[in-house]
């Protein structure tokens, strides 16, 4: 659904990218053929969904017109006049005219006395006008273009053959105007297409011809590189996963002791300062912090401690490097992004840990433990901690998606080759298969986060079990 509503025609771009914009007739036909092939490969020659809700005046086969502008123009014409039969005739006659003038052969006898370049120029203009007429829908524009073409056709006597064809188009257009049935636009109609549609194909594949379908792990073809999207995603997911995992683990490792200490010494200076810092961190936009860090620590004019972008040395790892050496070489690149990934969930988690601990410390059994003479450290780290951990585990299901969502901006600032930066690049280039794949993967990872938090629940709290 996304690719249909989206601006720009992917096939148009893919074909143009593969050629250098040929202008001769042979090349144009070649282009048309290529477009058809790509359309079939991408499944864009199918209806969008299993059914569609449209006005009664619309035909059920409008999706078969492959040029996006022409399809839009036809839709708007139907919207204006509501008589598809006449509009179809008009469109067919225009196509007819366009084909005829493209195949128009100059008879050398007839053009002996005329300047050849002038004729070619006129023919070119006619071609251009006819092409734009096919994708115009406003009455005034159509009238203008029709009169333009007529003027051009009357320039040379031997163009009269074309004039006959064109006069049918004009008559057809007038017929549209005269027999308009606008009321048909206000009657709804549901059209069923069956399972041969883009959505079904995207989900289940088309029997293995071009697409295996999402449920078999096939995300389609990237509009830019023409590679399978799955390859793009699998090659990028490593760094994204590494960063979000590391950051979540790090955030938990720091925030649990800090939150506990703040709660144990409630009202102390440590508690107040950490609370203020957590709150500030929590409200700080990550891209601002990232920019500030880059400005301070990766700026040749200030402190040049860390490299500004990438995840490994610009020339790649040395060939003989062992895994340990590779990690060592990458560490300076990882530190700044990791800070950005970690800090906001760290502030959030510490606040929750502190709150949970405060609640637990007021319970009776803690007072009993103190009364028994259990040392403070044992009370806090043994008796209180387990119960205070529950809320912080609950929010694992929020922290993990936040880390994945945050990757989109931090990865593009630090130019980390992960899914986030790939998604931004895809959005800027209207590369929809990649966008959808990134969305699906991140949704999957989020669900994984929920699962993990559920399992951790059962581990921490023996009262909770999944057995019935």
């Amino acid at each position: 659904m996304i690719s249909v509503n989206a601006p720009g025609d992917p096939v148009e771009r893919m074909v143009v990218a593969s050629q250098d914009g040929g202008e001769t007739a042979a090349q144009a036909i070649n282009q048309l053929e290529q477009k058809k092939i790509w359309r079939k490969k991408l499944g864009l020659d199918l209806p969008i969904f299993y059914f569609s809700l449209s006005p009664f005046s619309f035909p059920d086969t409008l999706y078969k017109i492959y040029d996006k502008n022409e399809r839009e123009a036809l839709g708007r014409l139907i919207h204006q006049y509501g008589n598809w039969k006449e509009i179809e005739e008009y469109y067919a006659s225009l196509n007819n005219f366009y084909k005829e003038q493209a195949a128009f052969v100059l008879d050398t006898n007839e053009i002996r006395f005329v300047d050849r370049s002038a004729i070619l120029e006129t023919l070119n203009q006619i071609r251009f006008e006819a092409l734009s007429l096919k994708s115009s829908y406003t009455a005034s524009v159509i009238d203008l273009k029709i009169s333009n073409i007529e003027k051009l056709l009357s320039l040379f006597p031997f163009l009269s053959k074309l004039q006959i064809t064109f006069s049918t188009s004009k008559a057809n257009y007038n017929k549209i105007k005269n027999t308009s049935t606008v009321w048909k636009n206000y009657i709804p109609k549901i059209i069923f297409y069956g399972y041969k549609n883009q959505y079904h194909r995207w989900l289940f594949g088309d029997g293995g011809n071009y697409s295996k379908g999402l449920i078999h792990g096939d995300f389609g073809t990237s509009y830019i590189t023409k590679q399978p999207v799955s390859d793009v995603i699998y090659s990028k997911i490593g760094w994204s996963l590494l960063f979000s995992m590391l950051s979540v683990i790090l955030a938990y490792l720091i925030s649990i002791p800090v939150g506990i200490k703040a709660a144990a010494k409630r009202g102390s200076r440590f508690d107040k300062t950490t609370s203020a810092i957590f709150f500030m961190l929590y409200s700080m936009p990550s891209f601002w912090l990232a920019t500030l860090l880059l400005m301070t620590f990766a700026n040749p004019d200030m402190l040049h401690l860390f490299p500004a972008s990438g995840v490994k040395p610009a020339l790649g790892y040395p060939e003989s490097a062992s895994l340990f050496q590779k990690i060592k070489a990458s560490i300076p690149y990882i530190i700044l992004p990791l800070i950005c990934f970690t800090y906001s969930s760290f502030g959030f988690l510490s606040r929750i840990m502190r709150g949970a601990m405060l609640e637990v410390l007021e319970q009776d059994y803690i007072r009993t433990a103190y009364a028994k003479g259990v040392p403070e450290n044992t009370v806090i780290w043994k008796h209180a901690l387990r119960n205070a951990l529950l809320p912080i585990i609950t929010v694992f299901a929020n922290v993990f998606p936040a880390a994945i969502g945050g990757s989109i901006i931090i990865e593009s600032i630090f130019t980390i080759p992960g899914i986030g930066s790939e998604a931004v690049y895809a959005i800027q280039n209207n590369n929809y298969p990649v966008i959808i794949a990134a969305l699906t993967i991140s949704g999957f990872l989020t669900l994984l986060g929920y699962l993990i938090s559920d399992i951790l629940y059962a581990i921490v709290d023996p009262r909770i079990s999944f057995k019935k």
Binding site: I2, N5, A6, P7, L53, S54, P55, G75, R76, H79, N185, Y186, P188, F279, M280, Y282, S283, M284, P285, F287, W288, T291, L292, L294, M295, N299, D301, P401, A402, I404, G405, G406, I408, I409, S412, I413, A423, V424, I427, Q428, N430, Y432, I435, I436, A438, L439, S442, G443, T446, L447, Y450
Partner: protein, 453 residues
């Protein structure tokens, strides 16, 4: 009988207001929280700034007397002014492109910041620092030190656009997007959450006929409101934000009128023999599944993907997208609250008195169930503002012509030596988000009766 009940209702209400007002109590609690109260004042200041920003940061003067003609360019709705010269020729003064700073006017009063956010000052292009040397082309054509009133107090960016003016106008964009989008989200969230919590899975019952008529009504309402008008809506994107808003509101109006019509038709249809069988609608399950579906995607990625498919970039688009997606937190909290309220005795009493369900929900339950939603709304505005600035920072949210905090930050990211482009918009963003977060915390504390001492 009904009148009696209504009388009783009002008398009960009066008693409540006379004895104790939760609103007054909550307000006094809120005022005790120093941080929250300060941030409330900062918020009022920001809203005020956003409202007057077209008059305090603009290159059009507030007042100008030129050749005997009085003009108020910044306030007037007209875009130009015709001035008759002594020799009879007519001079046309186009307000938005006139060179006011070099106009030989008798009196001229500039706005405090005499620059528009997206207009270039060629003399001070290419990252002029706030503390650095700034230039001004005087009427003789010489480049001199800039007069104090024309100074760029917070510097300029690469194109020579004033940063302070961009900041002030960015306030308007940010607050508009934050508040309006969460407005949409709260309407959706409170409605759905209240219905889910109040009715649960078993309490909303209707006749078979009414149910299917209503489903048909939704289809038809969608058809007439959006399918038939799709070209009008698409075209409005090319015109202006107002026309988009107008078309959308018109469509929504059609949508609700048709739904309402079918609601009544359904009541009639539901009395026919076969169609009057009672069916139960599992509202709670439907809403909960919807929330879970939305929650399974990271918010930012979902919004970015959706804003990528819209044909035109516009602020209205962004507002609608953020609004349609971020209602889940509000709905969850409202649902939980309504689950509790629907079991309270006064609701049962209202039932016993024969009040209609919708009256009970909106008049009796809703005022008590709103407290948690307020907290979620405050946090929601903060996150909406953050999302907007993130999108502008990446250059995929708002149209490139509008200057926002995010787009200013983006221009600073490209040039590290221009610290003022990173520092000031960041501070503005940070303060605004912090204000809404503190407000959310304060509201939670003030509105939670369990914390009552």
């Amino acid at each position: 009988m009904k009148e009696e009940a209504a009388n009783m209702e009002t008398s009960i209400e009066m008693k409540i207001t006379n004895d104790f007002s939760f609103k007054k109590y909550a307000w006094s609690q809120f005022r005790k929280n120093k941080f929250a109260f300060y941030s409330f004042r900062i918020l009022l200041f920001l809203i005020g700034l956003a409202i007057v920003s077209p008059f305090i940061a603009t290159d059009q003067p507030l007042y100008c007397k030129y050749k005997g003609v009085n003009m108020f360019p910044a306030f007037s709705l007209a875009t130009n002014c015709e001035i008759k010269n002594i020799d009879g020729t007519i001079e046309m003064l186009q307000y938005d492109i006139a060179d006011w700073k070099h106009l030989a006017a008798t009196t001229i009063i500039f706005a405090p910041i005499p620059y528009a956010p997206n207009k270039t000052d060629f003399e001070n292009a290419n990252y002029v620092s706030p503390a650095g040397k700034q230039f001004f082309l005087n009427n003789e054509g010489q480049s001199v030190n800039i007069p104090l009133k024309f100074r760029h107090w917070l510097g300029t960016n690469k194109r020579g656009e004033d940063v302070l003016s961009g900041l002030i106008n960015g306030t308007r964009v940010s607050l508009t997007i934050g508040i309006l989008s969460i407005g949409i989200a709260s309407i959706l969230g409170i409605l759905l959450g209240a219905m889910a919590g109040y009715f649960g899975d078993h309490k909303l019952q209707t006749s078979r006929g009414a149910f299917w008529t209503f489903i048909l009504g939704i289809l038809l309402a969608y058809f007439y409101a959006f399918s038939v008008r799709s070209y009008a809506i698409v075209d409005s994107f090319g015109i202006s934000s107002f026309s988009i808003l107008y078309e959308l509101i018109f469509s929504l109006l059609i949508f609700s009128i048709i739904l309402f019509l079918f609601y009544w038709i359904g009541k009639l249809v539901g009395q026919i023999a076969f169609l009057n069988k009672i069916v139960t609608i599992p509202v709670d399950s439907i809403v909960s599944r919807l929330i879970e579906m939305l929650l399974s995607m990271p918010l930012l990625i979902l919004i970015i993907s959706l804003s990528a498919i819209t044909k035109e970039k516009s602020i209205v688009n962004l507002i609608v997208i953020i609004g349609l997606i971020s209602w889940t937190a509000i709905a969850r909290l409202t649902r939980a609250e309504f689950l509790r309220i629907s079991k309270l005795e006064y609701i049962q009493a209202a039932h016993a008195m024969g009040f209609k369900e919708f009256r009970i929900i909106f008049k009796h339950a809703l005022p008590n169930g709103l407290a948690p939603a307020f907290t979620a709304i405050a946090f929601g505005v903060a996150s909406a503002i953050l999302i907007e600035s993130t999108l502008s920072f990446l250059g995929i949210g708002v149209p490139p012509t509008s200057v926002t905090w995010g787009s200013l930050l983006n221009s600073g990211w490209q040039q590290f030596s221009a610290w003022w482009l990173v520092f000031f918009p960041g501070i503005a963003l940070f303060v605004t988000i912090a204000v809404f977060n503190i407000l959310g915390d304060g509201l939670r504390d003030a509105l939670d009766p369990r914390l009552k001492k």
